[in-house]
Assembly symmetry: C2
Homo-oligomer: 285 residues x 2
């Protein structure tokens, strides 16, 4: 496994694969690799000849009040995990390598990015779509892997790839969870013991919503309200959003029919956590 810091160096390394039939799998991350990332890498290794992992804490997707500086970084551990999983290249550029002097180009997906997390993190998705465009052009993968935990991010990137005609496939990999159901996230590190216990409430609320739907509830508002009630009972939790939406457009729905995305964003103390259930093929539809 090679670690590469420079764009041009990575291009030179990868050039040999473009002129062959070998496929390149790509896993873009901000590092601090956990069980969720491992699943992405495992799938990429299984399905491609060559796998590139990028580790880059992208400043432009953090808001001015957000945790860019504190975001956990641990390259040494990441290196070991990536090597054990069978990754071929780690691309680990400096900020100056990605955004050099005079940088001024931005890629924006409209509408979709105003919903859910976009409402409370207005610049976030512009940062994501811009850096993902850059990384796609640098790596030129055949398949890129993203986690379902960031469901909205996946929907936005799907739109980006379709609209800008990127010649690649996207794969969404299911959420990895702790024993109590908490979605694994680098930000879970911020939680103290009491908060960690409280954080289980996101999963409980999603289960509550799913159970209501499986039992026949079709009123999206009622489902959301019951989920909110459950979260409000946890005193360390404060809700950013709790939503039942159409999974492709992320539009609000009144009546749940074929499929639905239950998505939640909740502050546990100071830490903002997100989670979702994507419920496909709802019975009786």
């Amino acid at each position: 496994m090679k670690v590469i810091h420079k764009i041009n160096e990575l291009r030179v390394e990868l050039a040999q694969y473009y002129h062959s039939e070998q496929s390149i799998g790509f896993v873009p991350t901000m590092g601090c690799l956990h069980q969720g990332h491992l699943k992405l890498m495992e799938n990429a290794v299984k399905e491609n000849d060559i796998v590139v992992l990028s580790i880059f804490v992208n400043p432009t997707q953090f808001g001015p009040e957000e945790d860019y500086e504190e975001y956990p970084r641990n390259f040494k551990k990441d290196f070991t995990k990536a090597r054990e999983t069978g990754v071929d290249y780690i691309f680990n550029p400096e900020v100056e390598e990605m955004y050099s002097e005079g940088y001024n180009t931005f890629v924006e997906v409209e509408k979709l990015t105003e919903k859910l997390c976009g409402a409370s993190r207005p610049e976030h998705f512009r940062g994501v779509t811009t850096v993902v465009t850059k990384l796609f052009n640098i790596v030129r993968p055949d398949i890129a892997y993203f986690g379902q935990k960031d469901f909205q991010q996946f929907v936005v990137i799907k739109r980006l790839v379709k609209d800008l005609n990127f010649p690649l496939k996207l794969e969404m990999v299911p959420i990895a969870r702790e024993d109590d159901g908490l979605a694994i996230s680098s930000r879970n590190k911020y939680l103290n013991k009491r908060e960690r216990e409280a954080a289980g409430v996101l999963y409980q609320a999603l289960q509550k919503g799913e159970n209501m739907i499986l039992k026949g509830e079709r009123n999206a508002y009622k489902v959301e309200e019951k989920m909110k009630d459950l979260i409000k009972d946890e005193e360390l939790a404060s809700i950013d959003y709790v939503k039942a939406v159409e999974p492709e457009t992320l539009e609000d729905i009144e009546k749940i029919s074929k499929e639905v995305l239950l998505a939640v964003a909740v502050f546990i103390g100071e830490t903002r956590l997100i989670d979702n259930f994507y419920i496909e093929e709802i019975a009786g539809n």
Copy 2:
């Protein structure tokens, strides 16, 4: 020479070249091919194994009051010219093929696009950078060719390519001119006989500016004023802008030193024409 209307069909055709060492040259146009385009195609044919010409009148780069509907189209003549020049593929998509339902992604280069033409055509460059990004992803060229007449467009696309890490080279091809110096443009077709004569004033103003600089004038404001005076003497002409700017950043300058871009945009009757002189290596600097 093949004419292709569908993105996927072009991808299939071009796939064979990606897995070989053959280079792809790309000439993006809005059709109505003239002497300027011929130079682009000739260079592309000379320098590459395969040449793709795109003909697409891109609606998103026209303002609501602009000439999208009237913009001249003549596929039959374009076809003959392209074939004679040695182009291999014409990519000629419908609008719906490029912007399908739910389209919502935009690529924007900031700052540079606010200057010169960007001031009077605020949405224009966003349309250009978005469609060029799409075309680059569809064609995946090794070299893309653009005309110097749209100097600002070239500077903006250079920024786009650098910032978004497109793995390709750009080539700027000099302006083709009529006998009286008028830069050849598809929009020259809009001019009546009297206007056609008046249109020579753009070139005369640029010559005036260049002569002043060659004779030692270093005050940008004085150069601009003399150029403006010359244009104002033509009663069919009305000035959009007349500028001496730094060629890379398009920033205003006070003192002309190493190099300068003289750029003009002038309405001749209802028709807006642009032209420029790029003066490199000014003596005594």
